[in-house]
Subunit: 115 residues, 2 copies
């Protein structure tokens, strides 16, 4: 039995590192940042409004919305023909904690080995 070795080596890292990397990846595109900011700022949150707001096609925005939803950062609620999106408080808090913990961990001391 031969196991084909794939290129992907992510499995070799710790779970916490993968978790941070995954949430960072979601935040690694300006469109998704813009969507989160839009949802934080507007009370209406209709999907179409978001596409209209962004300089991207409706299809592309829909894809970004799916990514954000999958990451647990937003929620979608059907409302008749339209879909109302909102920030997911729980997911945002989780992200906040993940980043907070990491940033605290990697804060360099005043006494650095390099000058």
């Amino acid at each position: 039995m031969i196991f084909v070795e794939t290129m992907r080596k992510l499995d070799l890292f710790e779970k916490g590192q993968q978790e941070i990397a995954a949430i960072a990846k979601v935040m690694s595109h300006p469109a998704r940042i813009a969507i989160l900011q839009f949802l934080a700022a507007t009370p209406t949150c209709i999907s179409g409004d978001i596409s209209d707001f962004l300089p991207l096609s409706r299809t592309t925005v829909s894809q970004h919305l799916k990514d954000l939803k999958h990451a647990g950062l937003i929620k979608g609620e059907v409302e008749g023909l339209k879909i109302k999106y909102c920030l997911n408080k729980k997911g945002i808090e989780k992200m906040k904690q993940l980043f907070g913990d990491l940033l605290e961990e990697i804060t360099p001391e005043e006494e650095n080995n390099c000058l």
Copy 2:
């Protein structure tokens, strides 16, 4: 004069959004997270030690180090034949502030439109 339209539309977003996205992209791979944690934890910081520590080839680690350096998160200091890497306090602080500001901005209120 015809301008060929490229697929990449990042230019259409605000500078702040691009800045956050860029730093998030650097954090979007477990190897780079692991490197930052390693540098925070070890006083020696020699490039070779990092490659030995990670489950990746020396070449690949070198590439990740380059990315981190380019993002201003680490510094490299030549020391004879070896190179000593350290966290870049300034860059880490900058990242901390960027994420902090964004996370504050997109913190949902208790009164959410979705349930």
